[in-house]
């Protein structure tokens, strides 16, 4: 704040993007809005829009949340997500502190890393549950219900989860449908439980029955690509390097066309208080990775061999390389 000449900043969170607020005040609020005010001298005040949140946190309540904002704050983290009526209440157009706060959040503290390790452990156990209960005849949403129940039973606050099932016709993941699993299906998932505010992720593919030659061949490519990035990641390399390492494997095998936006989204991303933190792992992102950052590398994409396939682990960047935080076996799961 001193560097920027800011006397005070606001950190805003809403029900979708709680992360700017929780980066200062790690309270899992259940109402619509929360706001923290931090002065340069370190004083913090907190306001909630929901009376239950305010009572639990012994904090100020402001049901008419426009009144929580007033002219005077130097900058706001989460400004971009704020409703315009809140921004207008701040007086002259406020400065965004979002990028600065996100940069501070990228390198995790020891306590944050501990929470992410707990989330990784839960992701591993959640995936184990996923494999245990998935079977032909079950519907996608029923499997998600089982996994969600397991994660909540074991302390997850939330969970970001996508799923898909089928064969070469599957081009991406989405929320679960009523589709029933069939023998031979690839069942893919991104599982991302949240513990004490922090997300960790695992991506795996399960084949129901004996995998086909094409599914095995596809998985070998995904595994080689993910390992190439994991072997490379250390402080000083860029997000682009990590993406290129994965995409080059697909190119080597003749599948370079499937590394672009038509068939995939990103080759990974950072993790923390939001499940899809920046920088994304993409060939045009030159952000230099640092010790203490937590990333997932996942070469998830569509291939004509197998349909959409996923494979990825959460990595903690260490002084000289990285540590894989997931313990789940790196293989194509079959059942």
């Amino acid at each position: 704040m001193a560097e920027r000449g800011w006397d005070s900043i606001l950190l805003y969170g809403n029900a979708w993007r709680k992360d700017p607020f929780r980066s200062l005040v790690n309270i899992n609020f259940s109402g619509d809005h929360a706001l923290a005010r931090l002065s340069r001298s370190g004083e913090i005040s907190v306001t909630f829009s929901d009376p239950w949140d305010a009572e639990v946190a012994c904090a100020a309540l402001q049901p008419d949340f426009v009144k929580a904002f007033s002219p005077g704050a130097s900058a706001i983290a989460g400004l971009e997500f704020m409703e315009e009526r809140f921004v207008a209440a701040c007086g002259s157009l406020p400065v965004s502190a979002t990028a600065d706060v996100e940069e501070l959040r990228r390198v995790k503290t020891a306590e944050e890393i501990e929470f992410i390790k707990q989330a990784c452990d839960l992701a591993d156990r959640g995936y184990q549950r996923f494999v245990e209960v998935a079977e032909p005849g079950m519907r996608e949403f029923e499997l998600v219900a089982e996994v969600e129940a397991f994660l909540k039973t074991n302390g997850a606050e939330d969970n970001f989860m996508l799923i898909a099932s089928g064969g070469t016709e599957v081009v991406g993941m989405k929320p679960p449908t009523e589709r029933k699993f069939k023998q031979g299906d690839s069942v893919t998932t991104e599982l991302t439980p949240q513990v004490n505010g922090y997300y960790a992720q695992i991506c795996r593919t399960l084949v129901l029955g004996e995998p086909s030659r094409e599914q095995l061949k596809a998985f070998d490519i995904f595994s080689e690509a993910q390992c190439a990035a994991q072997d490379l990641i250390k402080p000083g390399i860029t997000a682009a390097d990590a993406a290129r390492a994965q995409n080059d494997i697909f190119r080597k095998h003749g599948y370079g066309d499937y590394t672009g936006a038509k068939y995939t989204r990103v080759r990974g991303h950072c993790l923390g208080l939001y499940p899809d933190e920046t920088p994304h792992i993409l060939e045009d992102i030159d952000y230099v990775l640092k010790q203490g950052m937590v990333v997932i590398v996942h070469p998830n994409t569509y291939l004509p061999l197998s349909g959409y396939m996923v494979f990825g682990d959460t990595l903690l960047i260490t002084e000289s390389g990285n540590t894989r935080l997931n313990k789940t076996e790196k293989k194509l799961f079959t059942k």
Binding site: S30, A145, A149, K152
Partner: protein, 242 residues
């Protein structure tokens, strides 16, 4: 993130319901002499867009554009790979990729010759959408709509019934469990029954209801279940002893 069952049962919500809702929106546009209505939608702010089109951005954000005299258009932050699924659960026939929402919107306005837009609840537009829209050559006007109709109320009633029925059966099972464990029971029952999303809060020892945090529930507790059924939320709170 929505990870429950997002679907469109046309027997439950016939296309005619959405046609009537769009007709109301278009009547408001006619009243204000505006060519199109903009509706912002994200994973949390989905109610208005869902009411008009059955669209739910399970992740990411979108803009819904309802022209006065043409079919609605979805400007979608999600990948085109999921457009077939989106089309299967919404009224949309035209979906445009929009990793940058406002530039895509302005392109659409330019194509159609629109210099004005109605915006549903303009003061609640996120700043990052409001700012570039305000700086453009398209004038935005606040439009209010009454989003209540019989179909909406019937769906909310169904959501409330589902929450109440499940809570009545499950509530006594929380005795001797932690709030985490009881959350698991409720998640399983509600999501198996087709709940799209769920927010569970637990009250013990006269405290305000709060998210689970690993405490024992004892034999006297309350549970507030906010349940979303096919885009329609209801909150039911029950206490033990009943």
């Amino acid at each position: 993130m929505k990870r429950g069952l997002i679907t469109w049962d046309k027997a439950e919500l016939p296309p005619s319901v959405f046609e009537a809702r769009l007709a109301r929106a278009r009547a408001a546009l006619t009243e204000h002499d505006l060519p199109a209505l903009l509706v912002y939608s994200d994973v949390w702010r989905s109610t208005e867009g869902r009411h008009l089109t059955n669209y739910m951005p399970y992740w990411n954000r979108s803009l819904i554009v309802i022209p006065r005299e043409q079919p609605p258009v979805l400007l979608c932050g999600l990948s085109p790979r999921v457009y077939p699924w989106i089309k299967s659960v919404t009224i949309f026939e035209e979906i445009r990729p929009a990793s940058k929402l406002v530039p895509t919107l302005l392109q659409l306005c330019a194509e159609r010759g629109w210099t004005q837009l109605g915006v549903l609840d303009l003061p609640r537009l996120p700043h990052e959408v409001f700012l570039p829209l305000g700086a453009s050559n398209v004038e935005a006007y606040d439009v209010k709509l009454d989003l209540t109709d019989d179909a909406e109320l019937a769906m909310q009633r169904r959501a409330a019934e589902m929450a109440r029925e499940i809570l009545t059966v499950e509530l006594p099972k929380g005795v001797g469990l932690t709030d985490y464990q009881f959350s698991g029971l409720l998640e399983l029952a509600c999501r198996r029954a087709g709940a799209e999303d769920l927010v569970l809060l637990f009250g013990t020892n006269d405290s305000a209801p709060r998210p689970a945090r690993g405490v024992m529930l004892g034999d006297k507790y309350s549970v507030a279940v906010a349940l979303e059924y096919r885009g329609h939320w209801a909150r039911v709170t029950q206490s033990l002893p009943l």
